[in-house]
Subunit: 194 residues, 2 copies
């Protein structure tokens, strides 16, 4: 994909302990390498001196593991923010609703967004759909996202792999381009495009 | 599902001739009964005196059949607006981006949205995700939407039925409740809830 524009910002969506807890509780997920890829993306953006935005989901739902007073609200260690890196707290799936993320990105001159996180089909997908529709050049890092099995309307399980695949199929070319962690890390190591 | 609140508005997304033209050109779709169900929903909302919003996609893309100067921009006859029914013109997938739809709905006191149209996984899904995240009580009418086959990242066809099913699976209980045309038409014939 060539070099990445220097206006690029990494948007890490909901890389929080609740999803580790779900997995420990037995929920089936896909992409076992996703968090390692998120950590690689984060290291590469930091090394290149490019912007990183951490999106954190603060649920208002009584039963959610993502409530701010629960252990699941904490970021995973692999994605913990450093001093000075903005943390944007949201309450719904989209990182752009009820937050100042769009304004921060525009004010910072970030037109290119590299998006990764959890879950592929809910908060990542909704954020990516809105990013594209708001006019950003969105690049979704497919192998740095994951999701869980989910029950369909017919009561049968839809497997995480199929759900994840359909998100990438639906978004590709319509809202975002789908990229790999390798491509982004390689692009960040090349001389920057303007 | 019982009676429908009298604040309900029907949101018909992109029921435009371009999709008939795609079908005539040989693209495979699902839900052959969808437009008939859209017509039933429209008739039932009109008969109940409830609000209807027609969303129309005006593409800015050079090759799109949905450009305002093309035949595909026209509404399907089954969903043509009547005098006094608002038509909201949009340029991206979401009916809420670049339009005054949210303001119109709030000003009109419409908290309950019954959503149908084309295509399930793009403009309908994006509109429904945002409707839920903006705080509306969204009801997506699964059998009054359709979509087309689409190529996955691996170059293989994903069938319209599977794409449509995954949209409903992803949205159900997270952004919207999934309902049927029969349930809505029946609810509109019952004494209204407030």
């Amino acid at each position: 994909m060539g070099a990445l524009p220097t206006d690029a910002a990494l948007i890490l969506v909901d890389v929080q302990m609740a999803f580790v807890e779900w997995e420990r509780a037995g929920l089936r997920r896909n992409n076992p390498q996703a968090v390692a890829n998120i950590a690689r993306l984060l290291a590469a953006f930091r090394a290149a001196g490019l912007a990183v935005f951490h999106i954190r989901h603060a649920s208002t739902s009584p039963d959610s593991a993502l409530r701010p007073d629960r252990s699941g609200y904490r970021p995973m260690e692999e994605a913990r923010e450093r001093d000075g890196e903005p943390v944007v707290v949201k309450h719904v799936n989209s990182s752009f609703i009820g937050t100042d993320l769009e304004k921060r990105l525009i004010d910072g001159g970030h037109r290119t967004l590299v998006i990764a996180g959890i879950t592929t089909n809910h908060c990542v997908e909704t954020t990516t759909r809105m990013a594209g529709n708001l006019g950003f050049d969105a690049r979704l890092v497919g192998d740095a996202c994951y999701t869980f099995d989910r029950i369909g309307l017919d009561g049968e399980v839809r497997r995480a792999e199929a759900i994840h695949d359909m998100t990438l199929t639906n978004l590709n070319g319509e809202f975002a381009s789908i990229v790999t962690s390798d491509a982004i890390v390689t692009a960040l190591a090349e001389p920057a495009a303007s």
